[in-house]
Assembly symmetry: C2
Homo-oligomer: 456 residues x 2
């Protein structure tokens, strides 16, 4: 019976939040080498926590990159199902720092929200699972089912080394199903079943003209300006109707079925202007913002730089110009093939008088979809409804969790995405936060869920 | 007789170069507030030098910005002409520092070239005048003509405060003609008369979409990407034939006469690929690289920035994207009107879903042209030919020296541009340098010129 477990979570709420803040205070930015020690500290935090609540075979497993934390508990017996819990303790960079209202790695509660880098993505949600395990162990002395826990430190940089480990030790990580809490709900208070995710690919390219910056007066008119060549090339990728112009880009895209468009239409939640601050939403011609974000591929410029960025004017023709691009893919699209199409487009449309250097993003992921009628999904829906007092909605989202698609295609086990973030969380942005209400109701959901799964 | 003067310059060459190096070692970067003290030091260097060689009324005149150095010598008597020598002691920023082979403010001679920021633009050329004055004073005890010297510290940031001073004290600066050495020769060893310069205008604009960087997965497909909007807007300014697409941009452009195209064709010098390292030159459709650089207007992107520029991938939609633009103008074009046309174009072509913030460059200049047959120009040509042993060629250049146009239209006196730089000098770029051969022959030219001008 889960009453005792729920009471424990309430009674120990302050202690749990204190531990979470400790976890969030570690700047475990995986993409930045100067944070290597912080990343290790975050791994140790998770491992220590698992040990203290009674998990076995807990280890901080080294990889070629950042370590992976593993632990398991098999006390539910061989007749009970086994779940694999996946999450990540690494976070995105915090810059631009000046846009944070409180320091990214000094957690602070304002208006019922916990502000910190990683509060929602994904330390906060990982910690909710740890707290629920602790509650079970300290009240009932056991978990309802067997559990394998795998918390990695490279999700924000593509989980490359995770896959090597999972391939190597396939049996060790094998389970009946996987649970991941690294996603969100469509709106605050609206429990959400996430049954589809987008894939991912990308590249960075640099255009070089003159061998050094040139005086714009003396050489202007004789050489191609790399920043202008970059602009022409980028503008050729997408038209002003947000339709991607890369030849073959949409060829393998699984078309959006009418029933699914209806389903998406029924999903509640704001129209994106509130949470983003844009004057109006802009989407691919023929699709709504919800359809495009959930179920249509995207191409985004993530960064640009060329020439002089300082104060005042510097009358130069820059030597180089660089752009970083990523695409989000939908079912049907192959990441490698899409990347090839992008490369071919850039090479074909490169203006004369400049050279092109392309760095392919080594990491990628296929899109993912699970049957919304799978019993494990229905149990999740039931648990969410009990905790939030509201029917769960079923959605697909634009985010990529490569490991989901990877587990699906390599382990052939269903993946249940139980995410508790909200559209206001500002993932990857300044002032990332997580609502404490979801911290409480999310843990309640997990308690119900493990009990539900236990039932035959 | 100038023989003694020339001998002095040879005999004291090492001492003169030592003084020049001292001048070049001062990082007088006018655009960067942290170098304010260095800028003052450079002004003091010039003033002290003038005093020591016997100039009168020498002063470091404060302005709203950086100070202006003035000094005069009237010993040639009222029947002798008076020249106004203009130059600047401020320099461009040295970044990117990592691209310099020796430190920008530690002058170093390699293969007959003096490497340092300002070696050619303009400290090196200003110093050649000081050295020639010193040579005259220390040998003949006088200069051939009366001299007013005006060396400012804001040329690289638009000379704004210089104009206030010149307006205020018009009589003080008035002379029979002006001489400026802040330009170059078309090729090493090819003496050049510069009879035309381009004008200048510019602006910086920022496109804002979401109020903060967004997760590209969750919001991609709902909002306009500011970096992509920037690319479309920039690409709309110029087509791939280098023809500027801003409505009305070419309306007032003084067409290039056939005789002048012939003159430009006769100008020797490399085709720009050697000095710039580009694979091929690219110019406005219908014009050669020389025609475009010398006599056709240009629009250049000087800098671009948006989103993530660090190592690795950050999957965001940036909140803002910024570009810095400048144009070089030819006779007929009004800088203010051209800036208005640019602003109107940007506002008209702004994609939906983003906002536009334009910072107009407050500084500008009209283009300038002088009659190549003016006696003072012919004397300059004769002096150059004597010093370099080669006929001088007549050219227009793409650089802007706003003060030239300003002196012409406000003082109505001819401006003689006696420049000794070369296409290999890398003005405004890493590894700026100046050939010592031109240091010697340039000073020789100046000695001949002052004597020539003295002759009735």
């Amino acid at each position: 019976m889960s009453k005792k477990v729920l009471d424990y979570l309430q009674a120990n709420r302050n202690e749990l939040l204190t531990s979470l803040n400790e976890f969030l205070s570690i700047p475990s930015v995986s993409t930045d080498p100067i944070h290597k020690q912080d990343v290790n500290m975050a791994a140790e935090f998770v491992a220590t926590y698992l040990k203290e609540i009674g998990f076995e075979q807990v280890e901080v497993q080294p990889t070629k990159g950042h370590p992976l934390v593993y632990g398991e508990w098999n006390g539910a017996g061989s007749d009970a199902p086994t779940a694999l819990l996946y999450g990540h303790y690494d976070v995105q960079p915090a810059d631009p720092l000046e846009l944070w209202d409180s320091e990214p790695f000094k957690p602070e509660v304002r208006n019922g929200r916990l502000y910190a880098r990683g509060a929602s993505d994904d330390k906060g949600q990982v910690f909710m699972h740890l707290a629920v395990f602790e509650a079970y162990m300290n009240t009932e002395g056991k978990l309802p089912i067997n559990m394998k826990v795998c918390i990695e430190g490279e999700e924000e940089i593509g989980s490359e080394n995770l896959y090597d480990v999972l391939k190597e030790k396939k049996e060790k990580f094998k389970a009946d199903f996987a649970v991941i809490s690294d996603s969100g709900m469509v709106d605050s208070g609206q429990p959400t079943i996430l049954y589809g995710l987008k894939g991912f690919t990308g590249l960075e390219f640099t255009i070089t003209g003159p061998s050094s910056d040139l005086h714009s007066g003396i050489y202007g008119g004789a050489v191609r300006n790399p920043a202008m060549a970059l602009s022409h090339l980028l503008a050729s990728l997408k038209d002003e109707n947000e339709v991607i112009q890369v030849a073959g880009f949409y060829d393998d895209v699984e078309e959006l079925a009418d029933e699914e468009r209806q389903l998406i239409k029924n999903v509640p939640g704001e129209d994106f202007t509130k949470s983003t601050g844009v004057t109006e939403t802009v989407s691919e011609q023929g699709y709504t913002a919800k359809e495009h974000t959930m179920a249509r591929p995207t191409l985004e410029i993530n960064g640009l730089f060329s020439g002089y960025q300082g104060e005042g004017t510097k009358t130069i023709i820059p030597s180089t110009a660089t752009a970083k691009l990523t695409c989000r893919l939908v079912p049907g699209q192959d990441p490698k093939k899409t990347q090839d199409l992008l490369v071919a487009h850039l090479e074909k449309h490169l203006p004369s008088g400049v050279t092109l250097d392309i760095k392919r993003e080594p990491l990628s992921a296929k899109a993912y979809k699970v049957d919304p009628n799978h019993p494990l999904i229905e149990k999740a829906s039931k648990s969410l409804t009990s905790a939030f007092g509201k029917e769960a909605v079923y959605v697909r989202m634009g985010g990529s969790i490569p490991v989901v698609e990877w587990i699906d295609s390599n382990y052939h086990m269903p993946v249940v995405l139980l995410g508790f973030g909200t559209p206001e969380d500002r993932l990857h942005s300044p002032n990332e936060s997580f609502p404490l209400e979801n911290f409480d109701k999310g843990m309640e959901t997990l308690v119900y869920y493990w009990d539900e799964v236990r039932k035959k």
